[in-house]
Amino acid sequence: MARFRLSNSLDPMAGLLALQHELERAFENPPVNFGLSGRGVFPPLNVFADKDDLVVRVEVPGVSPDSLKIETHGRTLTISGVRESTPSASASFHRRERDAGQFARSIQLPEGLDGSAAQASYQHGILTVRVPKKEEAKPRQITVQAA
């Protein structure tokens, strides 16, 4: 049974500031639930839940979707890829702040998720991986028989 501490659902209508507060509150949540030792590896990831799925999101702008690899192996989800350097054939750089190279990040999924049914989408530089909850982990209504 997945054991996450859920905060309130995010409401985009409440605006950017409200969203930022909610995300910041979740900075306090322990990383060990996901087999992580904390921040410090690229790319930083955010984990959300809605009623059906666990949603893992990372910001990886400028990556060719072909180089993205999303793998699930048992309860481990691994996201990896390569970001090419800015083309610099006949140019000299005045500033070079953007990093390039390979990246890989693994996360331990809580129990009750179906890793084999995970789906990923990449849009505007953000990769979103949705892992559905197993049927039996979803809340079910149990009807009460009147005696």
Partner: protein, 132 residues
């Protein structure tokens, strides 16, 4: 040769100015390169699409401002977070040598690419040498 590993960099918060839209903004990381004909700029702005991208030139100051869409956060509850989201803003002073009429902007996969062509007089010229 194996590519090197990417390193983690914190998002830089924009300081020192008030914005009309509440919420903190971030300063995008950029690359600037110069070729014979133009200056090129790339800015990382994940979550920004071309409609939400604003590129302005005012008195020699280039402002790039990208608004992030919040729709994809609908109905999600944060469980564990390592990064926050916000609009991106950066300002740069451009020299006179840019032909502002011909600036081209492209947005793909959360990266803004700007081509800032140099004016004719700013391009390097080869001076032919004649023999006596």
């Amino acid at each position: 040769m194996t590519p090197q590993e990417m390193t983690l960099r914190e998002k830089q918060e924009l300081g020192g100015e008030e914005r009309t839209r509440p919420g903190r903004a971030y300063v995008p990381y950029i690359d600037i390169a110069e070729s014979q004909d133009a200056l090129w700029l790339w800015a990382d702005m994940p979550g920004v699409d071309e409609q939400s991208m604003d590129v302005r030139l005012d008195n020699g100051v280039l402002t790039i401002e990208g608004h992030v869409t919040l729709k994809e956060y609908e109905n999600l509850s944060p469980v564990y977070t390592e990064y926050n989201v916000g609009d991106f803003v950066r300002r740069l002073a451009l020299s006179d040598d840019i032909d502002t009429e011909r600036i081209k902007a492209k947005m793909a996969n959360g990266v803004l690419e700007l081509e800032l062509p140099k004016t004719e007089r700013a391009k390097p010229r080869q001076i032919p040498v004649t023999g006596a």
